[in-house]
Symmetry: C2
Subunit: 192 residues, 2 copies
């Protein structure tokens, strides 16, 4: 079997989701996932460190896209506009045809403490990376942390609404709407 398998990552994710749903996350082994996908364990481990990471594929890509968007935003952009650029990049990373998978992955994660812990860490890693990118653009550290938090909170709020309802709007729309809500709420609660 050659080193490179077309679509291997997608086949492994699909196989893992089927097995997690049918027999439970704990009972599923990496060998079973690979077998169901018609691939070897070696191929599995070329794509994922362990079965948990199948559910968190793409974290590195999300961070790269979000930070690149901040780096490349227009000169003189306000801090929240830089955050919005990161948000748009995060939202653009999930094509509409993956909405059903997002719903299924969310259900598996929600049912397991270990996975929810990993999900929280992923969110934190994205927020930290965006905050660093904002700091590199000259935003002071306190504001950078806050703006990154607003962007990531908008991303997760929009994503949850997108995954929860197949008739909800597009992910970019839902994320921008969430950012608008957060901006209004932040302005309101911090007004003197």
């Amino acid at each position: 079997m050659g080193r490179w398998e077309p679509g291997a990552m997608e086949r492994l994710i699909a196989a893992a989701l089927e097995l997690f749903e049918r027999q439970g996350y704990e009972a599923t082994t990496t060998a079973q996932i690979a077998e169901r996908a018609g691939l070897t364990k070696t191929t599995f481990f070329r794509h994922f460190r362990d079965k948990r990471e199948v559910l968190f594929a793409g974290q590195g890509v999300l961070i790269e896209r979000a930070t690149a968007a901040v780096d490349g935003a227009a000169h003189g952009a306000a801090p929240l506009d830089l955050g919005a650029a990161a948000l748009d990049a995060l939202a653009a990373a999930h094509p509409e045809e993956r909405r059903a998978d997002a719903t299924r992955i969310g259900a598996v994660i929600a049912a397991h403490d270990e996975l929810r812990e990993r999900a929280v860490f992923k969110r934190s890693a994205i927020a930290e990376a965006v905050a660093r990118a904002l700091t590199a653009r000259g935003v002071d550290a306190v504001a950078a942390g806050l703006v990154a938090e607003l962007a990531v909170r908008a991303y997760y709020t929009g994503f949850d609404r997108w995954a929860a309802d197949s008739r909800a709007g597009s992910l970019p729309e839902l994320c921008r709407a969430a950012l608008d809500e957060l901006r209004a709420a932040a302005a309101s609660v911090t007004a003197r």
Copy 2:
């Protein structure tokens, strides 16, 4: 040996820190921690689920104190005042004489991915609990999430400054100063 050992938890924490620092976190076993503290493994497991939890003692107490402070705040308090009440309760949970331990615990956590992951989850659990308490006080969900985030961010910022410098001010002072900075930054970045 009786069921109850006076100061057992404190002795176990002190023993664990010594061993983590001397021989490393991975190489330390719960049996070694119990032995060094002059206690049995049974006593260890009465206080902690595993060696990792020695470093995260008190999460439940923090959540109880913070949510009780929100529940008990004055009628008609503004959302950010409710957040400040939670913050004061969190800050009051760490007596000044534990500052050196906080510094040591932070150093062990910072050196291990697994522990940093657990720390992020702890922070998230506190923020979620405070947000729920705010919602129960009538704050709408978006504002509650944001105010809880501001309070917890102020708590961690203040705590880090407190642990990093034995000459820095008291923890309650540092936390309130951090909240003031965050409030100003949030107002600034969300202004239209």
